[in-house]
């Protein structure tokens, strides 16, 4: 396991891609840490660069020391903390843009993962909340008879429940949905006047017809064309050449058009 190599790549890429800035690095790799862990030759290089530079900033420090040297000499915990902060910030931005992010959970489990995880459970709870809403209409009729009334009352209540279930025709809207979709499909059904039988089946019957029609169209036209070409070319090829020379000179002067016109001539002659 080459953790430092990983850090070098990650931090270098982050800086190159502007995901991270040198200020982010020096926020963790403080001058104190540099003083304690950076070798003195590197410090000499850093001081030399700083003395000769017109402006001393984090970029100068990071570029002078170099990411490989930072990752080599600075404790890995510090580099990791830096990368972690960069990742959290970056992933946090992505979460704001895109609510559904599959990557954050495995990469960052503490802050950003809490948001998507909290997003996934609600759908299951939402499914629970509407469910009780439906039985509520059924429930109230059941308890009253169960309390003191006899079986006849229960049966009556069940019968009465059937009525509300009829009111449950609210499900019929779902059927209307299918009907609407069928109306959309009705176009194809209208075209398929052959089968007036089922309005619902056309969805199943639709797929087969198109391929058949396609095969018939393509196969017939293409096969005919090829057949005609080969047959005609074989039959009147020499006679056709005698006619071509004159006509080609009249139509176009370039060789390219002649080559292309050969095919056209063939089609023209055939026709």
């Amino acid at each position: 396991m080459n953790v430092k190599g990983f850090f070098v790549t990650a931090l270098s890429q982050a800086l190159d891609l502007s995901i991270a800035s040198p200020d982010d690095v020096l926020r963790h790799v403080t001058p104190e840490l540099l003083a304690n862990y950076l070798p003195r030759p590197l410090w000499a290089r850093l001081l030399t660069a700083c003395m000769g530079a017109s402006k001393v900033d984090a970029q100068l420090v990071v570029e002078t020391i170099g990411v490989p040297n930072l990752c080599e000499h600075i404790p890995s915990q510090v580099i990791w903390a830096c990368l972690k902060e960069i990742a959290q910030r970056t992933l946090g931005r992505e979460v704001t843009h895109e609510p559904l992010v599959a990557l954050p959970p495995p990469l960052v489990s503490r802050p950003t993962a809490a948001i998507p995880l909290s997003m996934t459970p609600p759908p299951a709870e939402r499914a629970k909340t509407p469910a009780p809403g439906v039985p509520v209409a059924v429930g109230p009729s059941i308890p009253p008879p169960g309390s003191a009334q006899g079986l006849a009352d229960v049966v009556a209540a069940l019968e009465s429940d059937e009525r509300p279930s009829a009111s449950g025709r609210s499900r019929s809207p779902t059927q209307q949905r299918f009907r609407q979709s069928n109306t959309g499909i009705g176009r194809l059904a209208a075209t398929n006047t052959r089968r007036p039988q089922a309005t619902a089946t056309p969805t199943v019957s639709e797929p087969p017809p198109p391929p058949a029609a396609r095969q018939v169209r393509r196969g017939s036209t293409e096969a005919d064309a090829y057949d005609i070409e080969t047959e005609v070319g074989k039959d009147d090829w020499k006679n056709a050449l005698a006619v071509e020379d004159e006509q080609l000179v009249d139509w176009s002067g370039t060789d390219e058009t002649v080559t292309s016109s050969e095919t056209h001539d063939g089609y023209g002659r055939k026709r």
């Binding site: 020096l26 104190e32 850093l46 003395m51």
Partner: protein, 88 residues
């Protein structure tokens, strides 16, 4: 002597750092001073000899840097001022 030479402008901070090179500073200054120098430079946006000597005072220079380096600085200043030739 270092403080007095700077105070009386016998030599300037630039002259000091021409002897107390970055290599010398990096080799002999303690980490605390190095971090202070860098932090001060980052805060001000530049690392000038004056700013370095504000952090690494002549007293600290005399405490941490080899004395022959400091003496070379003083001797060079004296030579520029013509003191050495008069003494000879």
């Amino acid at each position: 002597m270092m403080e007095s030479g700077l105070e009386h402008e016998v030599f300037a901070p630039t002259d000091v750092l021409s002897h107390a090179t970055p290599d010398v500073l990096a080799s002999h200054l303690p980490p605390e001073l190095l971090s202070k120098v860098l932090a001060a430079s980052l805060a001000s946006g530049s690392m000038t000899p004056e700013r370095v000597l504000e952090t690494v005072t002549p007293e600290l220079l005399a405490k941490h840097l080899p004395h022959d380096v400091l003496w070379a600085c003083i001797a060079a200043a004296a030579a520029r001022a013509g003191v050495t030739s008069g003494a000879a």
